[in-house]
Amino acid sequence: MFLNKLKAIIEGHFTVFKHSFKKRITQEYPEVKQDLPENFRGVPDWYAEKCIACKICEKVCPANAVRIEKGVDNVKFGLNLSKCIICGNCAYNCPKNAIIMSKNYETAVASKSLLIIEKNSKDNNYE
């Protein structure tokens, strides 16, 4: 019984020591990025030229994070990142594929006002 315990302890030390000769698996994050899986969901992206302002995305959103406003000749899109849970419902239910889940996940910002993304179809720089 006692000898078994001692054997296990010594074996454990050898196992740990062996790991120091193995290859390091750490990725140098900012320089080397991991390959994302095909169906990875990042921040939702909105494409104004496809949007028909049907407001389905507003209805299916479980967290009320998406907001679509239809003006006279333009469509406004609002996304509150502090509510969005990246479930992908808006992209799945969109009839024209105007919302697509992007691969962007680096969302850290220094101010809370930057968490609300607002886009207007009239602006040219919505991309």
């Binding site: 750490t26 990725q27 994050y29 967290a63 502090s82 996940y105 850290a108 910002v109 809370k112 968490l115």
Partner: protein, 187 residues
Amino acid sequence: MNIIVSSIDFILNWGRSNSLWPFTFATSCCGIEMMQTSASNFDIARFGSEVFRASPRQADLLICAGTITHKMAPALLKLYKQMPEPKYVIAMGACACGGGMFADDSYSVVKGIDKIIPVDIYLPMCPPKPEALLDAIMKLQKNIRKESFLDRDKFVSAHCSRLKEREDILVIDNDIQVTYWGVNGND
């Protein structure tokens, strides 16, 4: 005079930004991602912050990973106050940033920890990837390198201008009261 201040700033900020010791504070699912960040694949030790201290007295960085309920709010505030200056806060996950999916009709969740404590970096997503947390820490390091030790008090007072203290109440904000046993009022 400016040269002296800027050189002291450079040395202090270099030291502070490169040894951010996080505080072990994980309240829900974002905590799993925080653990993953310190594991082998995304080694947080590369930035010198793998020293997770259990005592708030020795920590510099509060990574608030997860939902803060009304019951947890006084504990969070107490722990933040127990940390010595300089201290920094990362709000990790949508719940800590602004309530997340509980933001609209929950009776028990604080809608964003910035109602209680000042926050330096907001990191939304539900939950963020480990890389995103590393990205947030790097952005925080950039911010620390820019600041001056003379302006640190201004930042805290600007973010906590509405905070007051009374004997029975820890924080009185516009619409939130943190007492020793929980949160009063509808926030």
